[in-house]
Symmetry: C2
Subunit: 336 residues, 2 copies
């Protein structure tokens, strides 16, 4: 099993790792998101995850960066990689309920509304424009942008956007048993609300059915002048699909082998439908002797906070698979 | 008259230009700030100025970037320089009343309170820490940081901080007739409130008497690993004085010759008291044939939005004085 599925076709000198944070109120609907101990508390996950990545510890609340089932969250992987590489990540606040505990590049958006009942991102077009300004800023200081996301409930909004754009997709989930029926119910309700006449403009689709991350990430990609790697699974496919609909160049994706191998989703097929190319990182978490990490292999968590892209970047910066998994284990043991 | 007072003693390859934005409620006290058509509207000035610099135009409100007396604001100079050099500026939101119209690196602070009546920046220490995180981020992507500010009413909080730190200072103003007596009244009231026993820790001085910009800018400087140039007048001297009190390395300053030559203030003397070195830019605005710019020479506006540092940076990046003043004139004529 090789660590990276193939040698990337790009080169770079000045990489920048960034994560777009957002909430969608869909994550508070029971059964949608596993990214938090209760549906309501999923809203805090981007705040806690960004604090962990930025500072190496969560001090704003007395919680550990584990899932309710004892699985280290993807943010622990991302933190291990930023510490290993010395890269200082940028966080982009696309619309959060709670104020972050660390500085963020804020586009002054709002949390996404529940798209079953109302437009999810009324200011989608403006957020896209502000994302473009962020992409221009990043362009001035880097030639490779690895862009992750943290949006609890975001696979469901991604599903809505992909299907509204005419792409048949099933989506990954951080639950072991992917709650398809619940997500499909939501998606069906959303598509019914916005009618059979789906908007022709992909930003109108995001407005009606998406989340703030999708609008902002698409804007960042649209203006970034270097190489973009979208670091994530289904949610980043939704961003790629929006870019395709806008006639923009298609970025590559990077994610974990656990997303690719999720039989309940359809990542590689959807990737092909969107016309995107993906790199897969296989950190072999099953063989590290850590029960929580091993759960990634049976389909839990799988991805988030750009963890797959962060491992790809560490590898491309010259760190060996052993150094990468060693850094992750050391970090997890440090707080455990 | 030379454009830059002396050749700087630093070199650089990857410059970053950033501006820290904040409000202090002192700017709404009549007679304190000239940075707006009314005292209440001075609160919006950082928002309008950052929009102008980022986008080249103010579209969020039907206003022109001129002072009430028809003088182009310093943000027009800064915009001209970022356009000339191609540098994409970073804005840091240290605490604003109104949400910005452009993306900002937000530390999630609050506007500064009126220090005559209460602690001005209750979270000064936390904002300093968050500024340190911003400085670490900037360090990853640049080796020269030119750091400006936009804080209407900020010369008065700077005066309070400098005097509380034991530095005798008079301060510049964007008014032609510097309202010393009003500022001195405020400063005397503040020093009386915090008592004769001035706090020993400079961050406690900022908490009691400063504004959010001073806390955040000091944090950024404290962690930045390259060369810092504080771009501004008296307000940046307050930042330098805080850094001195914290035992941190002293950054250089850059400002306009109009700040240096302001007989009503004491910039060079205070600079010497603080132990900082300053570069002065003289763009010779009196000889350009523009009545509004010429008013800089008689002591109006003088500095803001890091305009002096932006001109210094453009010069160090190889742009001639004629190219620099030409870019400013072209931009001003474009909106006039």
């Amino acid at each position: 099993m090789q660590f990276i599925s193939e040698k990337p076709r790009f080169t770079f000198e000045h990489p920048l790792f960034a994560v777009v944070l957002a909430n969608t109120m869909l994550s508070t609907v029971p059964g949608i998101s596993g990214a938090g101990p209760t549906p309501e508390k999923t809203l805090l996950t981007p705040n806690l995850d960004s604090e962990l990545v930025a500072k190496g510890a969560i001090t704003s609340l007395p919680v550990k960066p584990d899932t309710p089932t004892g699985c280290p969250t993807p943010s622990t992987i991302t933190r291990s990689m930023t510490a290993l590489t010395g890269l200082v990540p940028a966080f982009v606040n696309a619309g959060l309920v709670h104020p972050p505990a660390v500085p963020c590049i804020d586009v002054y958006g709002e949390p996404g509304a529940d798209p079953r009942f109302t437009d999810a991102v009324p200011r989608a077009r403006e957020l896209y424009s502000r994302g473009r300004l962020v992409g221009e800023f990043f362009s001035g200081y880097s030639d490779l942008l690895v862009l992750g996301e943290c949006v609890p409930g975001g696979t469901t909004t991604a599903l809505c956007v992909l299907r509204a754009l005419g792409i048949p997709a099933r989506v990954s989930s951080s639950f072991v048993d992917n709650p398809h029926s619940r997500k499909d119910e939501v998606c069906t309700a959303v598509l019914e609300r916005i009618g059979n006449s789906v908007p022709a403009d992909p930003l109108d689709v995001v407005r009606a059915a998406g989340d703030p991350m999708i609008a902002v990430a698409a804007g960042i990609c649209a203006s970034y002048r270097g190489t973009v790697v979208l670091a994530g699974g289904t949610q980043m496919l939704a961003v790629a699909a929006v870019l395709k609909g806008l006639g923009m160049p298609m970025p590559d994706l990077a994610t974990t082998a656990y997303v690719r191998d999720d039989a309940s989703a359809s990542f590689t097929a959807t990737c092909a439908d969107v016309g995107a190319h993906a790199y897969y990182v296989d950190p072999d978490f099953g063989d590290l002797g850590h029960a929580g990490l091993a759960r990634y292999c049976i389909g839990e968590v799988k991805e988030g906070m750009g963890a797959g892209g962060a491992m790809l970047l560490a590898s491309l910066m010259g760190h060996s698979p052993i150094a990468i998994t060693g850094a992750i284990l050391d970090f997890i043991r440090g707080y455990g």
